[in-house]
Assembly symmetry: C2
């Protein structure tokens, strides 16, 4: 019974999330070409062929659209990192994969597409909610790998888990935060292997 859509909803034409997705897709394309900072909601409306008022029905501001785009990007990074980790069984290897995949995904998303970098940078400096979710994912994934390794005997168990997690998070930060990564592009070749090895030495039982 309660699954039947009300006549009102059925009469609304395309459902909300479809329109939202359409706006986000068009905005992503537009920002990619013309940049995020310089584009206004009016520019966007003109380019997409919707009225400004119609866009405001779905997003309260340009930042709200930027947040959705950013959230999609960060979600993609999370999916790739998760896949890279799941490909291997040993906890030390999972940790190596995590840093490598994280860095590769960030480099591709933030720097090959220089215009999208602007959104990521705004997100990171403004502490948008998507950024907090992303940081939470990194913290949580690290914690899981550490727990697995402590259980398997690959990693030491004396240091409090919170301390180890946080310290490794800090070491990885320059490679997953776009604001820091922009100033470390000359270190990205050597960093993943060097840092993973040092971290793994610090975890040895």
């Amino acid at each position: 019974m309660n699954k039947t859509p009300s006549p009102n909803v059925a009469a609304r034409g395309p459902v909300d999330h479809e329109v939202r997705d359409q706006i986000v897709a068009a905005a992503t394309e537009h920002f990619r070409l013309y940049g995020y900072e310089k584009t206004t909601v009016s520019d966007l409306a003109k380019a997409i062929g919707f009225s400004k008022a119609y866009i405001y029905k779905f997003f309260e501001s340009k930042q709200a659209i930027g947040e959705m785009i950013c959230s999609n990007c960060l979600q993609q990074i999370q999916t790739e990192v998760r896949a890279a980790i799941d490909e291997v069984d040993s906890p030390p290897e999972k940790l190596r994969r995590m840093l490598k995949a994280l860095l590769e995904a960030c480099l591709r998303l933030f720097f090959q597409d220089r215009k999208l970098y602007e959104i990521a940078a705004s997100a990171a400096s403004g502490r948008w909610p998507a950024t907090l979710v992303y940081e939470g994912f990194i913290e949580q994934t690290l914690r899981e790998i550490l727990l697995l390794g402590r259980h398997s005997g690959d990693f030491e168990r004396k240091t409090p888990l919170d301390e180890t997690t946080r310290a490794i998070h800090l070491i990885m930060r320059p490679y997953f935060n776009p604001l820091l990564l922009q100033y470390g592009l000359d270190t990205t070749d050597e960093a993943p292997a060097l840092l993973s090895s040092l971290i793994l030495r610090s975890l040895s039982p």
Copy 2:
């Protein structure tokens, strides 16, 4: 015989390095108040009371003055870090002191004096010679501490010294490079202790 100054030199009034120091001191004060990027050599000349031509006799450009100021700042950091390390004997403690003193000196120099931060940022992004000297100092100091610790038996000796030095350098980088440090100001309370402890665990024999 060859120590007697020639009459020509004696007639020149204040020796060159005194005038250079005078210009640098006045420029430091001026940049501190009005910023580095916006100030021209003409502004500087007016403020100091020298002619522009006279300043150009001693420095070929504004950047040359900026480099001297920057070099003085970085020299001060190096002196402080060296003193902090020399206060203790144990290599692990020297390593802790190094990261802590480096961060404290950078925070004070680059961020309490926000206008001087601009010079440091230009130096770091332009890879000015003073920056290379500073990075060389960090690499060299790390290497010395690691060698001491390998000799005393505090640190393991299996990992190639170059690899360990470089990896620790990368971990410390966000805390001594002003461009990175500006985006990590919320981590500076916890970072030195957490990172030093992790690094020391990685060095245990």
